[in-house]
Subunit: 233 residues, 2 copies
Amino acid sequence: MNPYLNHAKHLVAVDCIIFGYDLPDKELKLLLLKRIFEPARDKWSLAGGFVQADESLDDAACRILRKLTGLDSVYMKQSYCYGDVGRDPGDRVISVAYYALTSIRDIDSDIVMRNGVHWHSVSRLPDLIFDHNAMVKKALSDLQNDIKITPAGFELLPEKFTLVQLEELYKAIYQHDIDRRNFRKKVVALGILEKLEEKETETSKRGAYYYRYNRETIEKLKREGFYFDLEVS
Amino acid sequence: MNPYLNHAKHLVAVDCIIFGYDLPDKELKLLLLKRIFEPARDKWSLAGGFVQADESLDDAACRILRKLTGLDSVYMKQSYCYGDVGRDPGDRVISVAYYALTSIRDIDSDIVMRNGVHWHSVSRLPDLIFDHNAMVKKALSDLQNDIKITPAGFELLPEKFTLVQLEELYKAIYQHDIDRRNFRKKVVALGILEKLEEKETETSKRGAYYYRYNRETIEKLKREGFYFDLEVS
DNA sequence: CCAAAAGTGTTCGAATTACACCCATGA
DNA sequence: TCATGGGTGTAATTCGAACACTTTTGG
């Protein structure tokens, strides 16, 4: 007898918590879309989709993200698997949550329009369907922890950024103020930032130096067991 | 049209990484069982089972643990969801890994016998089926992180334990030595331990005081936003 | 010259580390 | 009395937190 027979099979979905950082607004945002079918039609929802037969969970997450944003190769990470029986009133669905980090301006605005999606500030989220609010809460907490020990936060910024922008990003993610001087000391001490000649002069007369971070250096350090530490108060 | 139709359904399993602490041996152990069906018959495997139609993931994990150990209400935590297409050669199975913490002597040895299970030292594990070695590795890493910020480690000890035993436990989990004096200072400073009159006199002539920890105190502190910190070097 | 944002150092206290000797007891 | 394991304290250092003024420049 085949031990794989006679067991229930389940719909398995992937839901993506897509974080984007709005540089001008200095706000961490979330890409949401209006659900176009019942149950809960017209309520806000995370981007989700069902896992296909020949597709890994990671692949499914990438596919869903690509379909909605046009983006490939963004930072993605599995957050948690949600499997309560009644969590989706439409049917029993087990859902694996992934979170993605992207800079908002990376997203093709045509695609954004066409899918009826919208960026919402994480600090003023609407009610989402099912357990999606809990998913966001957990993913944000994961993100807050991840950026302490990996350079994931940088994924939310464009290639070139100023230290002020980096600081504002961390404030937006932690949702509290941080000390500018201590933050700069710590982030510079990491040794992964490269100061450019160029300045950003839109937001101030004086201008702020652009920095970029070197992915190769980071990869090298990670291979050497480098422990990134950017805990902030 | 029903949006839930026409999607692939999947076998979903739960695999339990059951950690136990062997007090006399001072070793962190893992409950493994010999697989009794193909594929990979007779290879060592984690305790697993399929999620039923009317059962949450957490419930499935509890059921599997109970069946194998007779234990209810042990510390369990979801670790990660594994969903690569070819991970189980028998069929496409998506597997949610949970880890459990228990003191070895809590387990009904009849049940252990009957199920042909065996405790293995985590530092000398055999080859496991499929991706189970990776699951263990990830779960151990999760555990190492968890015991820094929650009192989960205590779940691996009996009700009464000595500070020496607690220290040996942490050594076994981190798989490196720690400084006895610094560890004791830190763990006592947490204020969650109660020193008993009684001494443990089996292993030394002098005897070591038993301690126990007060679950109620911990619950209260957790509600107050208490941050347990037992990072050790 | 002034408003607005960028940039910079120091001091203090707390926490972590490193480290070695005395104690109690049963055999 | 001695071998065995239990128990303790201190000094040095590092790390994190708090805190305010100077610089630049365009308008």
